[in-house]
Symmetry: C2
Subunit: 450 residues, 2 copies
Amino acid sequence: MEKIQVNNALLKQFKVWFQEGNLADLHNQLGQMYPQDIAAVIDRLNTEEARKVMNALDKEAVVKVLVETEQEAREQFLSAYSSYEIANEFIEKMNSDDAAYILNHFSNNKKEEIIAKLHDIEYASSLLELISYENETAGSLMALELVKAYEDWSVKKCIEEIRIQAENVESILVVYVVDDLERLKGIITLKNLILADPNEQIQKLFNKEVISVSTSAPVDEVANLTKKYDLMVLPVVDPLGRLVGRITIDDVVDLIKDEADEDYQLMSGITEDVDPTDKVWILSRARLPWLIIGLFGGIASSRFLALYEGQIMIHPEMAFFIPMIAAMGGNVGVQSSAIVVQGIANDTLGTKNIGQKILKELRVALLNGIICSLLILFYNLAFQDSYELALTVSFALLTVIIFASIFGTFIPMVLNQMKIDPALATGPFITTSNDLLGIVIYFSIGRLLY
Amino acid sequence: MEKIQVNNALLKQFKVWFQEGNLADLHNQLGQMYPQDIAAVIDRLNTEEARKVMNALDKEAVVKVLVETEQEAREQFLSAYSSYEIANEFIEKMNSDDAAYILNHFSNNKKEEIIAKLHDIEYASSLLELISYENETAGSLMALELVKAYEDWSVKKCIEEIRIQAENVESILVVYVVDDLERLKGIITLKNLILADPNEQIQKLFNKEVISVSTSAPVDEVANLTKKYDLMVLPVVDPLGRLVGRITIDDVVDLIKDEADEDYQLMSGITEDVDPTDKVWILSRARLPWLIIGLFGGIASSRFLALYEGQIMIHPEMAFFIPMIAAMGGNVGVQSSAIVVQGIANDTLGTKNIGQKILKELRVALLNGIICSLLILFYNLAFQDSYELALTVSFALLTVIIFASIFGTFIPMVLNQMKIDPALATGPFITTSNDLLGIVIYFSIGRLLY
């Protein structure tokens, strides 16, 4: 097997094989590819072609590829199978976390129907439990497959048990030590087991310093703990402290990356998770909401400016600086909100003292505001005729920077306290509201000074 | 040990202990804390207080904490030690990747001086090699500590060797199998070793499907491979295919998070890596460059608008829609560039065919532009007196959306081809240039239609 660049040339090659009916070369090529790369190919083929690729794979590979494809391709592929087939040909062969992930994309009725069709009743009951955890919690992310040992076992007994338990567990990173009530007591690494005397008691060997999360912990906490304490795998316990599952770091990587991508897109005014290969209307739909908010902001600005029609007619030079005032308000607001949103996400905000944070933000804004308004004052005094205009622009700029900064800090914090994703307050939302704010301040000051 | 919330109450408690000279309680508290949490405390204390905490720790803990603190706190702490002490009391006790990371924050002379003072010549020579790799490459990120086995070993021999090699390696995830020229041939997991017959040959057991990177591979590739193939650890090979180190996923997590944070900050117009606990002038300095770019953009807009002073005087209503046109240009530009920047970062752009991407972006822009300009046309026909204004605004909006979208797509792609970080082109840069573009288009069209 080798990593393969999934590019247009490769896709063209696949299409040639389909046309020629050349299954031998197709099969040969697929045999050399990792499931992740096959999935990437499938995501770019149409339903019929994707099915040809899937049919050319052996059963084990189909399951691996299915877990890696995008939701749309997976749904189209599975739509040709009955609940019974989905259960026993696909779900049954997956790790519990992958199975739960895929089941959760079906409707409630459908996923229960699929689970009920499973031959393996024990696995079915585990899956029922897994899909019952609330979205975005540790419980919804964990896998049930793990290797555990009881405190009173010897190393030898433990290794024998690993032989038995290991069949269901793809990668064993550590063995969890539990008491006879199944409560998590600690961990022992495979390295320590290999290096230990076989007759030694587990009790004397295991590490009691184990970081775990409860099933109801939010995924953000999972991500932050994993990152902070450099964990490879995080055990999940129920409210009574009993070991119920584990989350491996590779799933946390996906989580961190997805959340970062989502925040980045929200900040840039894109509301759905899209990527450049999506269809035009999906890309369009993801962007329209913020553009329409921008339109409303623009209409509000125009209505406000209409009140000053007379002033603009007499002093058209006031209009010259509308773009600057609006833009600076937007820029400062985005800067402030980004810092707060990131601080909340990374849990680096420290205390929850909103007043203190706003005060600090105010000092930063004051410093930047003074520097920027002095710069523009010098420019205007040097190159503009109107002394009043120069004063109005600088004074308005300073005020706008300070207000934009306060709003930029305040709004995401308030949203966060209201349990709304603070990232919603960044990007176009802040830009639009600060545009309007800036113009109101600018013309109000202009009326006073002129 | 337990996870501890590092908050103001805890910091206050530490300060009370310092005042009282209460070393017993301090020591006791520290004994219960993870190095990561102690480091978080130290990052928030002044130099003198931080030193008191460090002095209350045992030598082993000091090294662990030192690796976790922020650069500033670490430099201040180490400044009190000679190169000899830094080498043999701290660097010598660290994993090679941590040691190289910390050494790389010293000047070239200083780091070579420290390495030269190490008692352990072999380790010194390894560190010299590690610090020689270029920044942002796999070589600069890897650790040298790993466990390897030769193809012709038996399982028993391999486990014996692990006992010997394991002393230097904190966490063993897999054993690397090499040939007698040290070339990487495959991996064998500890699970497989435990489960295998001790007399079996490694040759028959190991997995030949191993994904590796070369020392010169960029860190982005490391991150993408780890994420895509769900790797826990990635072996690093030299140009001859010889195994030289390994990168564990916890370091990749830090990498992914740092890069995402950096892109997010760049997008929001913040040029340095800052967090909300930094000092006011650092926060200010990180934001000023983009604000000043915004100022220049604003000045350019004002100069352009000055050319239309007469028109504004006659038709002041044209000024009403300046904020909308500028804002929409900025919003659309940011949306387009964000999608491209993210596509480049995640390697999901597919082909490198710029023309095709721009064509697609154009279709999205056309769709959104038509929707937005029709909406504003209806609004203006209903609520504004001027038919010419309504046409000008809608026609300008459509044109601005299309141009902003093309620039937003084009600029990051060109930067990327020029090997400049495309994320630089997002946020304020795009906003500012599209503000200006929008106004030029709006008034040019206005002159034609009025």
